[in-house]
Every structure is written in structure tokens, then in C-alpha cells.
Symmetry: C2
Subunit: 338 residues, 2 copies
Amino acid sequence: MAETNRKWVLKSRPKGIVERSNFELLEERPPSIRDGEFLVKNLWLSCDPTQRGWMEMDTYVPAVAIGEVMRSVSAGQVVESKHPGFQKGDLVSGAFGWQDYAATDGSGLVPAMKIPPGVELSSALSLYGITGLTAYFGLLDVGQPKAGETLVVSGAAGSTGSFVAQIGKIKGLRVVGIAGGEKKCSWLMRELGIDAAIDYRKENVGARLRELCPKRVDVYFDNVGGEILDAVLANLATGARIALCGAISGYNDFANMPGLKNYLNLIVRAATMRGFLVFQFAAQIPRAIADLAAWAAAGKIKDQVDVANGLENAPDALRRLFTGENLGKQLVKIGDPA
Amino acid sequence: MAETNRKWVLKSRPKGIVERSNFELLEERPPSIRDGEFLVKNLWLSCDPTQRGWMEMDTYVPAVAIGEVMRSVSAGQVVESKHPGFQKGDLVSGAFGWQDYAATDGSGLVPAMKIPPGVELSSALSLYGITGLTAYFGLLDVGQPKAGETLVVSGAAGSTGSFVAQIGKIKGLRVVGIAGGEKKCSWLMRELGIDAAIDYRKENVGARLRELCPKRVDVYFDNVGGEILDAVLANLATGARIALCGAISGYNDFANMPGLKNYLNLIVRAATMRGFLVFQFAAQIPRAIADLAAWAAAGKIKDQVDVANGLENAPDALRRLFTGENLGKQLVKIGDPA
């Protein structure tokens, strides 16, 4: 049993891009557990754009309090248990936070789940975690795509976006991805096999959408909000569906996000813009996992991960989401299973 | 048979609020009809906010061309027919334009329909016309309200809004109306029996919504767009539905409409914003008419009309929609049936 639990607590609410100085790394003895709890040793941390919102304000969950352990989904191994459902040695995922050890009863925003044998810990946080599930339900249940339609996805080289793009191809859609930089755009086309990519840093997104989507956009999966969302709103097909997943373009400065100008096109095109949270679809997770696993086994979906090492680097890994450095799912590896 | 057909043609595209000078009143002989057509004498014209869009640009239909008769829904009487479905003397509604006489085969954006016996011509354009149907389908099919929920409707003292407010009460909702001026607000509460009204000209809409909707807004029927839509977006209940019907606040100056800032709440509240056009629901019109007629017969729904007289006053009547002078459905009466 380790002598020390390192934990990152929130020290200040970020202004702009999250900084290492918004956190403080503390050391303490690992927590003891009560009846009904287990102690998990974190091995992998998930980095998600929504964590930026948790740091700043109440959203669909209360903000992380100053001095509280930074909230995070993670994967780890049970090292001690007084919980009937979890045994020492079990590999589990849950909202265990940025720390080496967490004492938990398994409840919370992301309830603790055992990771099935054969599933890598990184995949438990990526393809089979919040990320893959968000892509799956957002595209299929919110977006309601039909084969032959045109799908546009922003943040396409990010974790959720790259799964959306691939599921789109599996479902017979024409897929146009929007991403930042040539490297990401060529990866999307060559490695993921999407039909076209727009480099929003160099290209005029509206003009490129008009070129690439002459029949306009049937389904848009939005990870970024802001000006790119507005450009897509100007290019909607009749009956289009927009799945609003996130708005990373504004997470660093909500107050100064540019307003949406083109929303009247929702009327003209009889289109729908729907925000969603993966938690709404909890009851349907088994169906999603089965599909995702089948696609992975058939080699139809790649789980691209981008791995930082060491708990001490968690703030910098999170920061990469907002500077656009990550390709695929950003993770932090802390250790290996015993 | 009259010697003269007066017709308003579009002379210039409006900048700002529609002006009489955007139109020109011409006189010509009434048109002759071909096989498959009938000649209708217009008796009532419908004034609708969407006409402002038709004057300026292509939307869900092409813009009215310069020199073309101003597009309008109207009600009239068949005075001559070479169409098997329409006989001389029939009372009909359709998209017959701002003119005394129209030659038509009955097809178009709003297909010609016979007005059933016993239905007043004004009601054919209001409760049983595009207006009532828009309220019905927008609230019930797009808004999906459940008894006990809170409905907010903007433009509540206008034609569509006043029907939405009343259908909301019929369906057991708590109804909060937003309108401009004390007269409209007190009319909404006293005459239509809604639960509360907000005078957007005098009151802070956001602050009043927070007071009046402590459990926030479940369904919002939006006729105005702009800042009021943004204020409602900041006060959505989880799972809220927004039916986007129109955006009269911006129709006079699309380019300078303020952008929506609070759309991220669609994600946080897992809410849906859906634009719609009444034409999508054409197949379900009989159900709607049956319900509206039953409610009218039971005295549960009032058809408030605001009538201008004379074809020569059509531009001024249309203008009233944008200055907020109308209470209920703005119509222009041109004549009586033979």
C-alpha cells in the first residue's frame, strides 16, 4: 500500500485557456474506506473539453469547488474493497478525479463500471468511454442520419469528432470533417477515409462548405460552436439536424463568444438544433457498446489516442485540448495494473 | 364583370420597415382564364410577417420579383371557372396576391381550398388559415407540451401568438406571454386568461422570466427571435423545446440582428430548438381544423382580428405588423361575397 496520495486540487478558476497555475498538487495519505466503498488506484486519466466548464461554473453539474480534487473520468484498479460489487484487482472506470487514489462508493456523474476482460484501459476511456458513447448517441440518436446524406463534423480530429467521422462512414454518409491544420486534415482523409476535410485555420469554412456540400448539410455534429457553427447554419439542407455536443471555441471565454447570426435558417430549412448530454442515453449503453465493439473487431473504427505520462502532467495534457495539439483522444497514463 | 383589376406590385426591396413606397398600385383589365383555371375576386387579404422576407430575398420560396404582384394569402369568391374543382360562387382561400382579381389553377405555396359553409372569410385566413395552423402544429407537434409545463410565447398578442397562448391554456399549461405594451399585456391576461404577461418594452425580460418561471421554461414558442429568444435560452428547463416560428424583431434588418449568445444552454439543458414551416404538416391539416373548430364551438378559443379596409391600404396594414400596432390577426377587407 502506497504511503502517499498525490492529488491536483482546483486553486483558481481559469480565465482563458486553462493554466497549470489554476491547480495545486498536494500530497496526503491515501484515504481510508468505509463500508460500501472501495479504494481505486488511478492508472489512466481522461481529458475532456467539458472539464473546462466544470472548472468555471455550474453547468449540468455543479462547478468543482476551489480546493476540491479536479473532477475527471479515469480508469484504475481496485486495491481494497468494502463494496460488495467490486473486488480487489478489478479494473474499473468512473469519476475518480485527478489523484493517485480515490475512495468511492461508485456513484456519481459517471458511475463506476467494471472494465470487461480484453478491453484496454485506454479504450475504456476512449472508444467505450464517454467519448465513444457521445459520438455514437449524438450522431445516431440526435443526428438521425440516413445513408447517402452529407455529414459535417467539427473538431473532427479530436476524440469525439474522429469517432463521429468514422461512424458516419460506417453508416454510408458522405463525411466532411473540419479540423485545424494540414496534419489533422490529411490524417482524417488518409487514415479515417473521410470524403473531404476543411482546415479552418487556413480556409474560409463557409466558402469551402458551399463547394464541398452542393446539396448542403443534412447532419452537423458540432464540437466547437461559434463561427463554424454559424457557417454551417448558413448551409443547411431542408430538414437538417444539428447535434450540439460542445463549443470548445468558446470554453475559454464564454462571455465574449461571438453570437450566432444565422439561426433563422433553422426556420427557412425547417431544421433542428438539439443539445445533448451522453448521460441522457444511459439506458441504451449496452446497444452502443455492442455496436462499437463489433466495428472495432471488424477494423472499421480506429481508436486514436494521444498519451501524456504522469499525474504531474495532467494540467498540461488538459491544456492541449484547447491549443489543438491533440490528435484523437487525449489521455494521461499514470501507471499499469498490478 | 369588373372592368378593372387593381394590383399592388413590388417596386423596390425594403430597407428597414416596409414602406408604401416599396409598392406601386397599377390598374389593368382583369386577366382572362385558360382551361384548368378559375378567376377569383379577392375579398380579404391576410397580413403575415413572412411577407417581409418574401419582399427581400429567397427563403423557403423565391423572393417576389420586382414588378410582380405582391404575394399574399387571401380569401375570395370564384367569379368565373374553367377548373373542374371550383365553381362560380365558391368561396376559396389561396395565394392570390394583392389584387382584385387573380387567374389561377389553384396550385402554389398555399393551394386553393374551398371555404366550408358557415366559416367566416376572416376566420378562413385566421383561425383556420396559416395562422391558426402554424400555432397548432408549432405548439403541439414541435413543442410537444405536457400538461402542467410552463409555456412562454413571444409576440403573444399577435395572430399566431394569441392562438398559441390559448391552445396552451386548453392543453393545461402555465402560459406566460411576452408582448409590447400594457394594453396587449392586459388583454392577454383578461381576455385570453393566460397566467402572466411580460411587457418587453418596459420590463427586463430575463429578470421577469426568472421571477415568473421559477422552474424555468419547458416550451418556448418564438415569434420574435433576437434578444428575447436569447433571454429565454438563458432560462431553459432540462429537456426544453423551442419552436422557432419567426423572428419579427429582425425582419427589418437581417444583417444587423444581434447574435444569439446563450445557445450553449441547449447543451447544458439537453434542449431542442427546431425551426418549422406550417407546410410540413399539410397532411395533418384535417386533424388540426377539427380540433380548432371544436375549441371555437366550445368558446375556448377567440379569433381576434384587426381589420383595415380597402386594397389601397394593404401596404399600411402590412406595416402595422412591424410597428406592433395590430392586436390579433391583421387583415385587409376588400369586399363582400356576391
